[in-house]
């Protein structure tokens, strides 16, 4: 195996198509115009010594180590900053260069500690490598005199010395080892786009400074780790490396957090994970990561992780640890008993967007083949089901149209109801980079997010609309595009149905859709809407990125349709730099949807009522599939309360915390006779479970995740499952216990079955993924190597379909009792319901959910920053602390849903999208008032949770 060493070319690749040939040390090499001599040389296999250059950031030319001589030119230019020229003859090693380099290294080392043997970077230090490369044997200047190395010089305090900064939970900053190459500063600026680091002072006094000479944790740093990755010495080092030592082998795998789907090298020492390093060949992330993917994997070994199967008679009993055999036989018996007693449809299951495609496929197969019904659903129900519906209706596919690379060609980005800086940080970094290069940005969001304004980026237009008025605003934008004649007639005539366009044009042209009218209900100034519409329609390549702020509404599907219409109106579909891109929340929510997790769809979005499709599975699985769609999650819960639905198999989803109207969810679960939860932890849903099957982490299994750009990425096992079985094995064992003849030996066999039965996956196999790295579906005869951009020559459904988008205000309205609108979201350091990230050091950034409230609304209620407040809606109430900020408009409050103590979903109502039942998380009428502490409900809930987490034989509750 060994450690994967990625070549560092020193400077970024040039995109030029013109090729240039030069000679380096007698070897000819041909590279694109604009390439540096350093990179060209590396292409030829000759490594020029360097310290301040690395290919993730632009050349800087400060270390003076990479100097070369060029025939016919004077002096010794730095190879990182000098571009190649045709016919150039370069020498990288001459007597003169060797002397200069040695001299430079002597200066570096004269102000550097000589503790290599005990240094954390020993074996992974570029300074050490360069000392070796230049043949440094002696330092003529000695080690005395001015230095940054020692706390005291001859007993006198050394003011140039700075103590180690260990404030960041994941890495340390040791200024005594810094060579001020400013790679960290440039990585923070160019790669991450946060600009949290700088060089303070000048000359010998120059130091790397987080913020304004602050601790890392107090600075603007978002802990993405790009600086740690860029650091050539031990100055910025992962604490895990300091603790464990250097890794000896690495495995490329895919992050299990958000829908960006970053590729990482899991660097291991034995079966111990030393660190995660983003992989430069990863096509979604291109060598970058966020704090979650790089650092927040500690949950995998958290003490609260459950490793043994457990069962109990009643949910008031303590858990009893049992063998896998007993747990699975018991489950199978219970499910069969329930079906015998209450009917075949009395059980169902929920697939997980956090598990692999293969595991999801198996769960839905178990339900359809083994349970004999279609009662399968997935958490996409509560996030992107309107995307599936809306894009399916208009374009013919239920997925984003672009790859992430496409953003590099975008001229105008339109972000609607998404905050990528928090939820999809690596994509946000790529977008910010493009914005700094001149692209324009429009943001439609009730909140002033980081994307609206942060260092070096500022949205041209921010449409701070009232929650719930998306459809009106999107339609008003279409009104401007149509009435001002900004639409792309040629595109529409060629690609879309002209008569449907005319109908839509007539609809949106109605004065009631004008910005002036919509201003009255959305609160967005008409001029801002007009400006945004004009910019999107005429600013060049326009790309729409949207998130749950679009879908989680009673009119979520309508907004998705409106967005699809906008892209068609302006011809922004079917090439690089444009498109409609849903930002998927969870790592494999796209995959879970693809794998047939919905009650009405078989894998590949084929409706269950289609006889031809069912035939494929009927013959392969040897059953007769039910041709009626099954129950959706909310229907299952309703049916449970009604007494007709009695058993559920939930793999890797915490519906009690993540689904709306918590009390309704708990009532449904409580009414069931066999709730089976498969998870890493005793999550909130497990409080109502009778069987707990311990899950495995993404580090412990093979499989694939499909990210927001439809990219199928490999997940590779780097350690044995601590619970004994990978999740797919658990499902298989359960299926076997229920009498099904399943014999998958490896997840690749499951993928083969998917490929065999699903046309859009026809060419996908593990062998092919090994060869390609990753592929984007559809991947079949028509697109043998996958499809980075969809709808290139025409829409999948044939002609693009315009559908009217009538605005219907939600039934959730403010009034005297509930005068404020609550909207919810997430924060960078936490992920979803927090089950994973709350069990990592990420709590250093976000230890509790806070209620953001405008100073005006706070003053009216006599609230101060940090006060406990009661948050009440028609559905329920909870308490949390207030944060006073003008990021939200007056009349709007905002919170996150990462912590079960808060349970923001006690507040949310059971209103949902008209087409897909996606809950309306983003709009709830609430009242906010002062409070003394946790509500009665919170206290009661905590007590119940404590009780239900008891494990027989264990002294304390597991959480």
């Amino acid at each position: 195996m060994g450690l994967i060493h990625e070549i560092d070319f020193g400077t970024p690749a040039s995109k030029s198509e013109k090729q240039i040939t030069l000679t380096v040390d007698g070897f000819e090499v041909t590279v694109p115009e604009g390439t540096s001599i350093m990179r060209a040389s590396m292409e030829a296999g000759i490594a020029i010594p360097k310290l301040c250059a690395t290919d993730m950031v632009d050349a800087f030319g400060s270390c003076r180590l990479c100097l070369v001589e060029i025939e016919g030119r004077n002096g010794t230019p730095s190879s990182c900053t000098t571009p190649v020229m045709p016919g150039m003859v370069v020498h990288t090693q001459t007597g003169r260069l060797k002397d200069i380099r040695k001299g430079v290294m002597e200066l570096y080392i004269s102000d550097h500690p000589l503790d290599c043997l005990t240094c954390a970077a020993n074996g992974d230090c570029e300074l050490q490598d360069m000392a070796g490369a230049v043949g440094l044997r002696d330092v003529r200047y000695g080690y005395e005199g001015d230095n940054h190395v020692r706390a005291k010089n001859d007993g006198v305090e050394n003011f140039k010395w700075m103590a180690k900064d260990e404030s960041n939970p994941y890495f340390t900053y040791d200024p005594s080892k810094c060579i001020v190459c400013s790679r960290c500063v440039r990585a923070c600026e160019e790669v991450q786009g946060t600009f949290a680091l700088t060089i303070e002072g000048r000359g010998f006094g120059s130091r790397v400074s987080p913020g304004a000479h602050e601790l890392f944790l107090d600075s603007e740093c978002v802990s993405c780790g790009a600086c740690v990755q860029a650091c050539p010495t031990a100055t910025l080092t992962e604490k895990s490396v300091i603790e464990i030592g250097q890794p000896e082998h690495s495995v490329v795998t895919t992050c299990a957090y958000c829908g960006v789907g970053c590729s990482f090298k899991a660097e291991m020492r034995g079966d111990e994970l030393v660190r995660m390093v983003p992989w430069k060949d990863g096509k979604a992330n291109r060598g970058h990561s966020c704090v979650k993917g790089r650092f927040a994997y500690g949950y995998a070994t958290h003490k609260e992780r459950i490793l043994n199967p457990m069962i109990r008679e009643k949910i008031t009993d303590p858990w009893r640890e049992v063998s896998w055999e007993e747990a699975l036989t018991h489950t199978a018996k219970e499910f069969r008993r329930i079906q015998y007693q209450y009917g075949r449809g009395a059980i169902g299951g929920i697939t997980s967007s956090r598990c692999t495609n293969e595991e999801t496929f198996l769960v839905q197969k178990l339900i359809r083949q083994g349970f004999g019904n279609n009662n399968v659903d997935t958490c996409a129900r509560v996030c992107h089901s309107p995307t599936g519906y809306g894009l399916g209706q208009t374009y013919g596919t239920s997925a984003g149209t672009q790859d992430f690379d496409s953003v590099e060609d975008t001229d105008v980005a339109l972000i609607i109801g998404a905050n990528p800086a928090s939820a999809h940080p690596v994509f946000a970094s790529r977008l910010k980079k493009r914005l700094r290069a001149g692209a324009k940005l429009i943001v439609i969001d009730p909140r002033r997010t980081e994307m609206v304004k942060s260092a070096h980026i500022e949205a041209e237009h921010h449409l701070a609309l009232k929650p719930g008025t998306n459809v009106a605003v999107v339609t008003a934008i279409a009104h401007v595009v149509v009435t001002e004649g900004l639409f792309d007639e040629k595109f529409i005539r060629e690609r879309c149905d002209w008569s449907e366009f005319q109908d839509y044009a007539e609809f949106v042209s109605d004065p009631r859709h004008s910005p002036e009218e919509v201003e009255k209900l959305s609160g967005v100034p008409a001029e801002t809407i007009r400006g945004a519409a004009r910019l999107y329609a005429t600013g060049g390549n326009g790309a729409i990125y949207y998130g749950l702020g679009v879908t989680e509404h009673s009119q979520g599907s309508t907004t998705v349709i409106g967005i699809a219409n906008l892209a068609m109106l302006t011809g922004n579909i079917g090439r690089k730099g444009v498109g409609v891109n849903p930002l998927r929340g969870q790592n494999n929510v796209q995959g879970a949807c693809d794998m047939g997790s919905f009650p009405h769809e078989l894998p590949g979005y084929r409706h269950i009522s289609g006889d031809a499709v069912r035939d494929i599975y009927d013959s392969l699985w040897g059953v007769k599939l039910d041709n009626e769609p099954g129950l959706r999650i909310p229907n299952m819960l309703d049916a449970a309360v009604d007494g007709t639905f009695k058993g559920i198999y939930i793999q890797g989803e915490d519906i009690l915390q993540s689904d709306p109207d918590t009390k309704h969810v708990s009532a449904g679960l409580e009414a069931m006779e066999c709730v089976v939860v498969q998870d890493l932890f005793l999550n909130e849903t497990a409080n109502y479970a009778h069987v707990f099957l311990p899950g495995s982490t993404f580090l412990e299994k093979d499989g694939t995740f499909t990210n927001a750009e439809r990219r199928i990425n490999r997940v590779r096992k780097v350690m044995a499952p601590k619970n004994g079985l990978a999740d797919w094995e658990v499902t298989q064992r359960l299926a076997q216990a229920m009498g099904l003849n399943w014999n998958y030996k490896h997840p690749s066999e499951i993928m083969d079955e998917v490929a065999k039965t699903t046309p859009s996956f026809a060419n996908v196999s593990y062998e092919f993924l090994e060869k390609m790295g990753s592929v984007q579906w559809p991947c079949n005869e028509k697109a043998p190597e996958g499809t980075p951009i969809m709808h290139i020559d025409g829409f999948v459904r044939g002609k693009g379909k315009f559908i009217r988008t009538e605005y219907v205000a939600t039934d959730e309205k403010t009034g005297p009792r509930f005068p404020l609108l609550l909207t919810t979201g997430r924060i960078l350091s936490q992920y979803n319901v927090g089950a994973q990230t709350r069990r990592t050091e990420n709590v250093a950034w976000h230890a509790e959910d806070l209620l953001e409230i405008h100073p005006h609304d706070a003053e009216n209620r006599g609230l101060r920053d940090g006060d406990w407040v009661r948050l009440q809606s028609r559905a329920g109430e909870t308490t949390l602390r207030a944060q006073i900020t003008d990021r939200v408009s007056p009349g709007v409050v905002y919170t996150t849903f990462h912590h079960p103590d808060t349970q923001a979903n006690v507040i949310t109502t059971d209103f949902s999208d008209w087409a897909t039942n996606c809950p309306e998380y983003k709009v709830t009428a609430v009242q906010v008032g002062a409070s003394n502490g946790p509500s009665e409900w919170q206290k009661g809930y905590n007590e119940q949770a404590q009780q239900s987490r008891r494990i027989a034989g264990h002294l304390e509750a597991a959480e």
Binding site: P210, G211, A455, I457
Partner: protein
């Protein structure tokens, strides 16, 4: 003693400086100069305000501020005396001149006299090498420094 401005007043005065200079190309350094002119130094509390206004990070403003020695962390005395310590002046005895001045006012470089009358600073070349050793008092250059000239300077400072 220079009074520290109250925080709201500080924010208002900083905002006024910013709004006057923001439209310049590369406005950060002019704004830092403007702030120093306004307060006599660059109060640390103004840096985040400047960062916010220019859409820069705190780190970046801090980096620029600390790069230039001319921007002050603390209020200066009523007078600022800068004594050239560059090569030409050194060759004409600026070291001895500096020592005399230090003794005269009882302070070293980068220090302010107890009565707040004067702040002493080294400077590296005033472009007045022909008249070395040279100094600058409150923006006005003085050439051919000697004991008499130092007395004159002291008189002006104490007047």
């Amino acid at each position: 003693m220079v009074m520290q401005p109250a925080s709201t007043e500080l924010a208002q005065r900083t905002a006024a400086v910013i709004s006057e200079l923001k439209s310049l190309e590369g406005p950060l350094i002019p704004i830092l100069h403007g702030v120093q002119e306004e307060f006599g130094y660059v109060p640390q509390e103004t840096l985040p305000i400047i960062a916010e206004a220019l859409n820069l990070s705190r780190a970046e403003v801090h980096g620029v501020f600390t790069f230039y020695h001319d921007f002050r962390h603390h209020p200066a005395g009523r007078h600022v005396l800068k004594v050239c310590q560059a090569e030409a002046c050194q060759s004409m005895g600026s070291d001895a001149i500096a020592a005399q001045i230090k003794q005269k006012f009882g302070i070293g470089f980068h220090e302010t006299s107890k009565d707040g009358a004067v702040t002493l600073e080294p400077i590296y070349c005033l472009g007045l090498c022909a008249c070395a050793p040279a100094a600058m008092l409150d923006g006005e250059v003085i050439g051919r420094l000697d004991a008499d000239k130092i007395d004159e300077i002291a008189e002006e400072i104490r007047s």
